[in-house]
């Protein structure tokens, strides 16, 4: 079921085009990852969807009979830190905004701040503030959740718990719209990827579709050789070189390894992996569409 429709959204600041004819349909019970380079327009698109800035043209439609704010939860990049107010008070204040809020105990559990409920918000650590922001985003038991860089400031355990909670929410029928720079986290959880590039949605599909289009496998090794030595090998889709570390994306890993045989003496630490979202995005930027 479609919960959100974005039709022909255009956004310009002066003469600079930020978004060009963006069209999306967001289905319920799914996790949608919006990715793209810094400055690609991800935050602008989210801000337009959330009515924080006006679009130059086009329409955003929440397909609900209720006030869209009653069915939406938002966790922005920056934490809310209200002065002279406790954790308990901000949770209850946020609950009061909604018609059908989750219980205080449930939100306190999600925040993991049971022992800090009477502490002032200003006294929380960065990770605790992030978890509290997540609990506040869930206060209204939203149907659609917007998460902008949700795991920034969380330690690895907290990040793991966070994504497990996101998975649980998806299974309970929630729709989650997320942006993150931790691409490996999105790779494991998102159902659908939107790549925002050059003001347009350059790719809209699953990680499987992205791999089949941009390369299934990743061959990594260290070598003193130059990029040019490998560039013309028939099965190389793209090469990324950092220092002496090569990352080659290919759709035919067996053939590529055979093609690398003459260079084996000059190659160390050869590894074959499934291509990651990180490398696919890099490849996407370099080869296809810029």
């Amino acid at each position: 079921m479609t919960i959100l429709e974005i039709q022909h959204i255009n956004k310009s600041f002066g003469k600079k085009i930020i978004l060009k004819d963006i069209n999306l349909q967001i289905e319920s019970s799914s996790i949608i990852a919006l990715v793209g380079a810094n400055g690609a327009g991800k935050t602008t698109l989210i801000n337009i969807i959330l009515n924080l800035i006006p679009q130059t043209s086009g329409q955003v439609k929440f397909l609900t009979n209720e006030n869209w704010k009653q069915i939406t939860g938002v966790m922005m990049q920056d934490n809310i830190v209200l002065h002279r107010i406790t954790v308990k008070e901000i949770i209850n204040l946020t609950r009061s905004y909604f018609d059908k809020p989750l219980s205080y105990e449930e939100l306190l559990n999600i925040s993991g701040l049971k022992d800090h409920q009477n502490n002032l918000m200003t006294g929380l650590s960065g990770g605790q503030k992030r978890r509290l922001a997540f609990a506040l985003a869930l206060a209204g038991d939203p149907e659609i959740l917007f998460l902008d860089e949700p795991t920034v400031g969380m330690d690895s355990n907290a990040r793991n718990d966070f994504w497990q909670e996101i998975d649980r929410l998806k299974k309970s029928g929630k729709t989650i719209f997320v942006t993150s720079h931790y691409l490996e986290e999105l790779e494991n959880i998102a159902d659908r990827f939107l790549i925002l590039q050059n003001s347009i949605i350059a790719f809209d599909g699953t990680i499987k579709q992205l791999r089949s289009r941009e390369g299934q496998s990743l061959v990594e090794f260290d070598s003193e050789l130059n990029q040019i030595d490998f560039k013309n090998l028939p099965d190389v889709i793209s090469i990324n070189l950092v220092g002496h570390h090569f990352q080659i994306i290919t759709n035919n890993v067996n053939q590529l390894v055979t093609e690398l045989t003459p260079y084996l003496k000059a190659i160390d630490n050869l590894q074959v992996k499934q291509s990651t979202l990180d490398t696919l995005l890099l490849n996407y930027k370099e080869n296809n569409h810029e």
Binding site: L52, I53, M76, V81, H83, R84, I85, N92, T94, Y97
Partner: protein, 253 residues
């Protein structure tokens, strides 16, 4: 309604009860000024003139207290909400702007109400100023209406969004406005051209209305029209600035 009550309750806690510096600054400063200018810095003044001065200065300090609460506390609280991302949080929540600003206005109006009552109590005790409950009620009611205009000025200043600019603007507006309006010392000791400017200020006109109430003299329509025009001007500027900032993606209102 529940969310409005809850928001108001939280605002009382964070703006007043847990923010003693603001509470005492808003309430004590006008009281200190009142005692200073009616008890300590006056000498050789005829008793009949002193009686009127003590009454008029009470009105002046009531309005000054409204300025502190309405302009400085409003601007600083809204700035704090902007910096702490609470304004953005509210914008994204089902709480309407009307409820957000309304709940804050209730707190600030109450703060001014308490401040006015405290000032009157001091005037009664220290200078034996005699004001009936009815007159006090009229004075406070009019001042609270005036506070709405001052709150609008505070909201406008908060749009600057930077602590240094907000502090500079509040200082540049509150203190010159108090002096020009004759709240600190009589307006007729200033040069005529400055008096002419001062008499256009809304706080001067508010003091004219208050003094007419206090001395039970006839009210004229002029001061009320002045306050109405100022309110419309400030409201219009607020609307335009808000629209421009929203276009630029700078606003969370």
């Amino acid at each position: 309604m529940n969310k409005f009550i809850f928001q108001t309750k939280i605002n009382f806690k964070r703006i007043v009860f847990r923010n003693k510096a603001f509470f005492f600054f808003d309430m004590l400063l006008p009281i200190v000024f009142y005692i200073l200018y009616t008890k300590i810095l006056v000498s050789n003044v005829p008793a009949s003139y002193l009686k009127a001065w003590n009454e008029d200065y009470l009105v002046s300090m009531m309005i000054y207290a409204c300025m502190l609460g309405g302009i400085i506390t409003t601007a600083n609280t809204l700035l704090e909400d902007e910096m702490s991302n609470f304004k953005l949080f509210v914008t994204l929540s089902p709480l309407s702007n009307f409820q957000y600003y309304g709940s804050m206005a209730i707190v600030l109006i109450t703060l001014n109400l308490v401040s006015s009552i405290a000032l009157t109590a001091v005037a009664m005790i220290v200078n034996h100023v005699n004001i009936s409950i009815g007159l006090l009620f009229e004075l406070i009611s009019i001042n609270l209406l005036g506070t709405i205009l001052l709150i609008l000025i505070g909201v406008l200043i908060s749009f600057a969004k930077k602590p240094n600019t907000v502090n500079l603007l509040t200082n540049l507006i509150v203190f010159p406005l108090a002096i020009l309006s004759g709240l600190w010392w009589p307006i007729n000791i200033m040069p005529t051209w400055l008096q002419n400017i001062g008499k256009v200020m809304p706080t001067y006109q508010l003091s004219v209305i208050d003094k007419n109430i206090l001395h039970q003299t006839t009210q004229h329509i002029g001061p009320f029209i002045n306050l109405l025009i100022w309110s419309l001007i400030i409201f219009l500027i607020l609307f335009i600035v808000n629209k421009i900032q929203k276009e630029k993606g700078l606003v969370t209102q």
